[in-house]
Amino acid sequence: MKKLLTLISLVLILSIVLSGCVSQASPTPAPQEPGGAVTETAEPGGQGRQQVEVFSWWTGGGEAAGLEAMIKVFQAEYPDIEFINAAVAGGAGTNARAVLATRLQANDPPDSWQGHAGQELIGTYVAANQLEPLNFLYEEEGWLEVMPETLIPLISQDGNIYSVPVNIHRANVVWYNPAILEENGITMPTTLEDWFASMEDLKNAGVETPLAMGEQWTAMHLMETILLASMGEANYSGLWTGEFDWASPEVTTALEHFATALSYTNSDATSLTWQDAAQLVVNGDAAYNVMGDWAEGYFRELDKTPNVDYGWAPVPGSDGVFQFLSDSFVLPVGAPNRDGAIAWLKIAGSQAGQDAFNPVKGSIPARNDADRSLYGEYLLSAMDDWASDIVAGSLTHGVVANDSWKTEIDTALGLFLQSRDVAAFQSALVAACASSGPCQ
């Protein structure tokens, strides 16, 4: 037992020494390749240096890199304010949201946080009176002139604007493998019927997976694009405002289209991340994949060439409609460093900030005065579409439905994926709208 005691004391001493050494040396900022979350700790004994703590779940890859780029712009503009990057990964944001929820409950908000513009922010945080309106900032910075008109109502409530959108992503995009389509004599279809017919042809020609899909949330993503494509923008948007009835036959048809699409997906979908599913297309294992245009950034990271290894088109039936989502930052009520937060928001909404963030992240700026030379082929086409198309909001990414409603839809979707019972699904959706949405 003496040996054991010696061992224990050694471990103890070692750990104390280790921790002593490490806490004296200032922790090195982690490397900025994919994987490092930069944390700049406050210098001990600083003279009350201004800080801003920004909370997000951008901890890796293009998102983290984009954030880094924007932070650099921020530091250049405001060298006296220290930026604290409080990012928490995992669970597609659930971990971060859990932390955020506990902090808000305990009245300890960060100075700003990242959220999806739209009902995700409004339905949750504004409803709980936790966000400050930003109209004053929009006027000061002249943002109303440079952000699309159709966007502003979607991020406001009762005339108050609640977030600063940094980027715009498009949700209703089909990525396809040009080689597979060409081999089978298919030109990218423009209607749902043609699209499904092409999938049938592909299946008969031996293509294992006409439509690649991943885990449950990508099914929701697929669903929202098909709802839009099948019902058209007016009815689709009406669903979310309570003007269009979820029980109507148009919805039934749309859900049946969704079921048809599902029948052409891979059987191991639930075990694939969205990256895995998208990769099936560029690897030649699948013909189509419906995913937001962050997939484009992923393809480029895989060193694939646009229009050679992959092509893109609006989800058949939704050409002319830009189903969008937007990452944005907010100003919480009671932010500990309100000035720092406002400084951050100014950068987030500035041309310099957005042009630093977006090319790296793989999205287009919310502002319409971007420096076009910084953007690649796909992004330029997206910018043109954004400027000319009708705008509709994404469900999966928090624009049109608040979190409670979306969670109920998600449960209904999960059950549908197992049962493929359209009628049951539709009535569950009707119930969800009544319980958490504007329906009566």
Binding site: L4, I8, T28, P34, G35, E63, N85, R103
Partner: protein, 279 residues
């Protein structure tokens, strides 16, 4: 006859080796991936050995995780030690000096082991925000996490020690009493020296559970105080995940507890066999 037994006994190695392979499988994948260069990593090649020992992954992972590994150590060691001591004292009191109600207090304490921690996150955070101990805020810091793990470790440590001490015969304590020792004296001179196996079991268990905890860590700490579990989780991020670095990081994060089990595992078993975890 010896010859027959010799052969049959050796047959027993077959299931043991197969079982060992099963247990080592994930470790193999982790290490093999950790040593690969980024281009070699893919689902299709996951079983293949790396072309060379690519140590950069480990270096990069270590650089990214080092401050958080230190946080974990700073948090886990005091938490394990303090909760073991508290458990020992509680176990001693509840097993050998039963005050009225001790037999109700004990199960009541034990019950705390079973709550789903997700359900108490919100009151926990609120409570931690309101408390300051000697000017050190409990929320967001390593001491806060230490206190949390100590408190939620009380049921388990108390259970272990109480059951262990329950097997100590009364006569031993009576002997001490007759020598004039009081409740503290008996603890110091009789109970403590023979508690080592129980301490080992409890220390190891608490070390592991505090080290591997993610839930409390993620809601109760600020970035400076993150233990390695949170940092590791963040390393993954999204888009393209550098699995080779991620696996190297995972291995590094698991290393301390692995070492504890490899080197102290035998003591753990001896502690169990000495009755530390009976029933």
């Amino acid at each position: 006859m010896t010859r027959g037994r010799f052969q049959t006994r050796y047959l027993l190695y077959i299931p043991m080796v197969l079982a060992a392979l099963f247990y080592l499988l994930p470790l193999y994948i982790m290490l093999v991936t950790g040593f690969k260069s980024f281009s070699e990593v893919s689902l299709a090649t996951m079983w293949e050995l790396p072309s060379g020992l690519y140590l950069d992954n480990f270096i990069e992972a270590f650089r990214a995780l080092a401050p958080y590994l230190a946080n974990s150590v700073r948090m886990v060691v005091p938490a394990a030690i303090i909760s073991s001591i508290i458990g020992s004292i509680n176990g001693y009191a509840l097993a050998k000096w039963k005050f009225p109600g001790a037999d109700i207090i004990f199960p009541a304490m034990l019950f705390g082991m079973f709550i789903p921690y997700q359900s108490i996150l919100i009151p926990l955070v609120e409570f931690m925000k309101d408390i300051n101990i000697f000017g050190v805020s409990l929320y967001g810091t390593v001491p806060g996490l230490i206190v949390t793990h100590v408190i939620y470790g009380i049921p388990f440590t108390t259970l272990t020690f109480r059951n262990y001490y329950a097997t100590i015969p009364r006569e031993l304590l009576e002997a001490g009493r007759m020598d004039g020792a009081n409740i503290f004296g008996i603890y110091r001179s009789i109970i403590l020296p023979i508690s080592i196996p129980a301490f080992v079991v409890v220390l190891i268990w608490q070390f592991t559970s505090a080290w591997n905890d993610f839930l409390f860590a993620v809601v109760l700490t600020n970035p400076q105080a993150w233990p390695v579990t949170v940092a590791l989780n963040n390393m993954a991020g999204s888009q393209i995940i550098a699995w080779n670095v991620q696996m190297a990081g995972s291995f590094l994060a698991a290393l301390p507890t692995l070492l504890v089990y490899i080197f102290l595992g035998n003591y753990f078993l001896r502690g169990l066999m000495a009755g530390a975890l009976k029933g």
